[in-house]
Amino acid sequence: MKAKTKTKRVFIPGCSLSSYNPELVEKTIKYLKNKLPGTGAILKCCGKPTKALGQYDEFKERYAGLQKEIDALGADEIIVACQSCYLTMSASSPEQNVRSLWALMPEIGMPEGTVGKAKDSDITFGVHDSCSTRDRDDIHEGIRWIIEQLGYNTEEPPHTKGDTRCCGFGGMVVPANPDLAQQIMEKRTDEFETDYLVTYCAACRASMYKGGKKAVHILDLIFGDVWTSESDFPDLEGSVASWVNRYKTKKKIQEVLS
């Protein structure tokens, strides 16, 4: 039975996270629902890839489609888990307040049972910041707060936070110039001593993996089992698997918010 709660805000997980891991999206929505009643969700691309290619007219059309959905739900706040979405939506949805999940978590608290869970892990995670939100200190601080709450040790590379380096994925370079992108990925992973990296963007995670590291998404740390040197780390999801994941994500969202 569908409950009649007003939709105050909407969580938009974004394409890359949905393609990466439906369970993480599911758990995030449950968490938000619990902490912030009145949270809906939308799974739809924001059209950023077209913008990145320079197709501004097409982008406008695409984004209008998303905006229509947001307005239809009546949400005045958008919560995002992707930095690219964060920038795109901040710029394109002036009527909504756009918040990053990573800056929000310190305000609303960690999911129950997660604080201190990893204090015995033997892993040190290198933190890779997304370059698109290099000037958002609140996001950098939120991410570090989350990892500290979980109890993992961290390593900061020479270029970090505001001075972070691109993972190699930005600007749609991978399909255009895969060899160069590969070099950029390796240049970035070379900055870390540790073999284990944590990102907060699924595309960055894939890049760090291609750069030769064991890499997880921060939601893997929050909602997954405790990671140790014994764990099986995720590899790359193929194109078909990605679309299967997206479909699963859609189903999970519908389930949780039914």
Binding site: M1, K2, A3, T5, T7, K8, C15, K30, Y31, K33, N34, P37, G38, T39, G40, A41, I42, L43, K44, C45, P49, T50, L53, G54, Q55, Y56, E58, R62, G65, E69, L73, P111, E112, G113, C131, S132, R134, G162, R165, C166, F169, G170, G171, M172, V173, P175, A176, N177, P178, L180, Q183, I184, K187, W243, Y247, K250, I253, Q254, L257, S258
Partner: protein, 592 residues
């Protein structure tokens, strides 16, 4: 690709203001624009031939400058902010010592123009002008009053600092190029200036400043009072110098140091140098003073000459305390305390307080030596140009050479009937626009000192004092160079490194011929470049501009093959099958 005005304007900003081709501090300060960083890194890499070739692109005097250049570049060297400037001058000498070979000299000349140019004075300024003009295909004749070439390089600077064989060796390029040099030919005496003006298409006056200045104090006409410039010239010519054992040199500049050190070599037993200035106002370079003091010369700063005492011959000199050299406006306006007097016993007093140009040979002409144009060095008489020391301000040798080049450019244009003023902003020294910051991790590296012959061995001869660098010393010194340049963006971006020499050059190429779309589709849009760019250029926006234009010209699609798939991803990402929109629900949660 058709660039819109807006896109073009923003791109032009990068083309105009990008610092990629801005020379380092040292080179910008060099009046001859020598590629200092270039030759230093070549020396570091052991490429001595290449180093000397690079130096010779800008000067025919590497050995001369490598010994006596007053190295204004070193004052601007970025490394100076850390511990000490690079030893730029000494490294130049090293390159010359190691690898200069007349067989490698570029003796090519442009086709004969049939034009003739006269140069008055075989000092460094005249020599450089002659060299460039001869290379341009004109026929140059130098007229020199003295029996040998070099001007003040030979007749001012003593041989223990600049051996005469080095001067002759480096001047020999003029002969090889076919410059005619007439020694022992004084203009105004052996040949008239009016005649030169008549016989030649253009004249460059580079007669230097050789008339020593005297102060008309009591006793200045006594036997034993000498003039520094004459004293040095006589010493250089090997003439007998009438000098006693107790010498007082008046003056605090580099010339005074050369006079004192020359007197010491000629057998003087006690040498005092007295000057008006004290502390860091003393005009001589600190290293000149140090070298002089090492040879036992006594400095007496802050004293002005009052009277030279003696019957017919000098017996002593008295001084009054100098309390101010320059007034508040910065003008030379000495003030003395007439009560505080000091006397020194002396049999010889040598004035070394400055030299003026001897300009009697142009007196009848429409030429005012010190009133020629600053940018072109042209005088009121169209075909007469004036530069070097005779223009009125005492210069460094390297500045006199820079005048020579400037005059040559002007004369060449004049002979070809071209505009003399166009495009001359960056001739000579200027300020570099670089905004380099020293890496905080840069280790301290001490400047390598030049080895010198022992003080005892310097007495009674004019052997060269400085011994030059050996390979290890040169390498060690060259390693200190910070290689100042901008290109910060390129150091931080693989894409830029792969596709361009600099953003400036890249966007110029976009304008001129266009570039492969792959270049602007290889930008990660990460802003790393903006972060490190002193001009904060948003290169990603420039690349995005190009993407937008490319899409416009390609029916709304990216021109890149690999981007075809994205179109399909986008369609799927918006299709009903893969999208959902769920309002909030307060159904109880089973798990938290």
């Amino acid at each position: 690709m058709q660039l819109t005005e807006k896109v073009l304007n923003e791109m032009n900003e990068v083309i105009d203001d990008c610092l990629a081709d801005e020379p380092p501090y040292c080179q910008a300060r060099c009046p001859l624009d020598i590629d200092v960083q270039g030759y230093i890194t070549l020396i570091r890499d052991g490429k001595y031939k290449e180093a000397i070739r690079l130096i010779r692109e800008k000067t025919i005097f590497p050995g001369v400058l490598g010994r006596v250049c007053a190295h204004p570049c070193e004052e601007e060297c970025k490394r100076g902010e850390l511990e000490e400037a690079l030893s730029i001058k000494n490294l130049k000498r090293f390159a010359a010592d190691m690898a200069d070979d007349p067989a490698d000299w570029d003796l090519s000349r442009k086709a004969e123009t049939g034009k003739k140019v006269a140069v008055i004075g075989a000092g460094p300024s005249g020599a450089v002008a002659a060299y460039h003009l001869q290379k341009e295909g004109h026929q140059v004749s130098i007229y020199e009053k003295l029996p040998e070439v070099g001007g003040m390089l030979r007749f001012g600077i003593p041989a223990y600092r600049l051996p005469h064989d080095i001067i002759d060796y480096e001047y020999s390029i003029l002969d090889k190029l076919g410059v005619e040099t007439h020694l022992n030919t004084e203009v105004g005496k052996d040949i008239e200036f009016a005649q030169l003006k008549e016989d030649f298409d253009a004249v460059y006056v580079a007669a230097g400043a050789h008339k020593g200045i005297m102060i008309p104090i009591d006793g200045a006409d006594l036997d034993g009072v000498l003039i520094g410039a004459d004293f040095l010239r006589d010493a250089a010519l090997g003439n007998e110098v009438e000098m006693g054992k107790k010498i007082v040199v008046i003056g605090g500049g580099n010339v005074a140091m050369d006079v004192a050190r020359t007197a010491w070599r000629l057998g003087a037993e006690e040498i005092n140098v007295a000057c008006l200035e004290s502390g860091n106002q003393i005009p001589a370079h600190s290293w000149e003073i140090e070298d002089a003091e090492e040879e036992g010369i006594i400095m007496n700063p802050g004293w002005g000459p009052k009277e030279i005492m003696g019957e017919d011959k000098v017996e002593g000199i008295s001084f009054k305390k100098c309390e101010q050299v320059f007034d508040n406006e910065g003008n030379f306006n000495p003030a003395y305390c007439e009560e505080t007097i000091r006397e020194l016993e002396a049999d010889t007093v040598i004035f070394a307080i400055g030299q003026r140009a001897e300009d009697s040979f142009v007196e009848a002409e429409d030429v005012e030596l010190n009133e020629t144009d600053e940018i072109t060095l042209q005088s009121e008489t169209e075909n007469v140009f004036v530069g070097g020391d005779c223009k009125g301000t005492p210069l460094l040798a390297v500045e006199a050479m820079s005048h020579g080049r400037k005059a040559a450019i002007s004369i060449d244009r004049y002979l070809k009937d071209e505009d003399l003023f166009e495009n001359r902003e960056n001739e000579g020294a200027y300020e570099s626009k670089l905004e380099k910051e020293i890496d905080p991790e840069e280790p301290v590296r001490r400047r390598v000192d030049m080895r010198m012959i022992d003080v005892e061995e310097r007495k009674n001869n004019f052997d060269e004092v400085e011994l030059g660098f050996n390979i290890a010393e040169a390498k060690g010194e060259a390693l200190r160079c910070l290689e100042c340049e901008c290109k910060e963006c390129i150091k931080d971006c693989l894409m830029l490194e792969k596709y361009c020499d600099s953003p400036k050059a890249l966007f110029q190429e976009v304008k001129d011929v266009g570039i492969d779309p792959l270049v602007y589709y290889s930008c990660n849009m990460c802003s790393q470049c903006t972060l490190v760019c002193p001009k904060e250029f948003e290169l990603k926006d420039r690349f995005m501009d190009l993407r937008k234009l490319a899409v416009k010209e390609n029916n709304g699609e990216s021109p890149i093959k690999g981007h075809k798939a994205i179109k399909w991803h986008q369609r799927l990402g918006f299709s009903k099958f893969f999208t959902t929109s769920q309002p909030a629900s307060d159904k109880e949660e089973d798990s938290k």
